[in-house]
């Protein structure tokens, strides 16, 4: 059972080597929950049967979600909470399926996955959003010892009471280090920019919402979920401080955070 963001996902396979690879890949996120919220059976296929560079496609038809990319095909039926994955024996395909299914579940619940690093300091979570090269891995690498890293690549955000909570994820970037499987209330979201000095600047609410939406991971061509995610971004901006963090890549930037 792989539990990310408090959602236990049971992954079953008849291949013991693949199972071992998953246990190693998701170490720290393995759960002993008895009840899975989502279940996937994995069928392994010969590498020659994969479809190269086919981009990811996520669509909903007659109660079933279908996920497809060059290296996998998967189906998930929300009503039965179960599905299957057909893929080669690699950890990246199932990682993509897990990201997709979590985006779908979160969209219904007022949460989202975000291209962002995140970390906990003094009991509060800080989220650092940005596209590739914006500095997510850099600021994660610079974190001092009292900081608990949740992820350097994909942040997991859920609505809780009047605020939002960030959870650790096993979804890694260049740091190639799994986040800690803990969570904390989000105190601030920083939009990252590299510069010659460290400073935090307020930004207009509209820019905050646009930037947030630009960094939300969303794969499904589904009007209802697109609209839900859109409104979630505005709710988030209304409840969480969003600022621009310009930083020079050394450890002093963390003097501004927490």
């Amino acid at each position: 059972m792989v539990e990310i963001g408090g959602i236990p996902v049971r992954v079953s396979t008849l291949n013991p080597d693949f199972l071992g690879m998953l246990q190693n890949r998701y170490a720290g996120f393995l759960s002993h929950s008895e009840q899975a919220e989502i279940e996937f059976k994995v069928d392994l296929i010969d590498p020659g049967l994969s479809d190269g560079d086919r981009p990811v496609e996520v669509r909903y038809q007659r109660g079933v979600w279908m996920f497809q990319r060059g290296d996998f095909v998967a189906e998930w039926q929300p009503a039965s909470r179960s599905g299957w994955i057909r893929q080669t024996a690699n950890p990246y395909s199932i990682d993509a399926v897990l990201r997709i299914v979590h985006t779908l579940v979160l969209a219904k619940q007022g949460g989202f996955l975000l291209h962002a690093a995140s970390a906990i300091r003094n009991g509060r979570a800080f989220v650092f959003a940005g596209v590739s090269e914006a500095g997510k891995t850099t600021i994660s690498r610079l974190a001092p010892l009292d900081v608990t890293l949740l992820t350097d690549e994909i942040s997991y955000v859920r609505r809780q009471d009047d605020g939002y909570v960030a959870f650790g994820t096993p979804f890694t970037g260049e740091l190639a280090k799994l986040g800690e499987n803990v969570s904390g209330p989000i105190a601030a979201l920083y939009l990252l920019a590299k510069g010659s000095e460290n400073r935090i600047e307020p930004i207009a609410a509209g820019e905050a919402a646009r930037s947030l939406l630009a960094n939300v991971l969303f794969f499904a061509k589904d009007e209802e979920l697109v609209q839900a995610t859109f409104h979630t971004a505005f709710e988030f901006v209304n409840r969480v401080q969003v600022s621009r963090l310009t930083f020079f890549p050394d450890a002093r930037v963390w003097e501004l955070i927490g």
Partner: protein, 100 residues
């Protein structure tokens, strides 16, 4: 009066934040930020008020612009917004996403 009617497309998501109107297409997730004129048009696009009346009552009241020129610009804008799926336009009043 112009016989052009405009209605907000119910298949888009819209929010106003600090006076900025933002709209996301549910079809392809494209995000639009409307300028002041487009925001006025969007907010007034109830499907039953003729575009010419919207221009006279909302746009000409807000901007110093000649009515004929404002209407031409509004028609161009409405067609542009319709091409992105944000507005629906019709020669007849629009009710519940379709013409009467």
């Amino acid at each position: 009066m112009s016989n052009l009617y405009v209605a907000r497309n119910p298949r888009v998501a819209a929010r106003s934040l600090d006076g900025e109107m933002m709209i996301m297409s549910g079809r392809d997730s494209t995000l639009f930020t409307l300028n002041k004129t487009a925001t006025i048009l969007w907010q007034a696009a109830d499907g039953t008020t003729p575009l010419e009346q919207i221009v006279q009552q909302k746009i000409c009241a807000e901007f110093e612009v000649e009515a004929g020129e404002a209407l031409r610009d509004a028609e161009t804008l409405a067609r542009d917004l319709a091409s992105h799926g944000i507005l629906q336009i019709s020669a007849e009043p629009i009710v519940c996403g379709g013409s009467k």
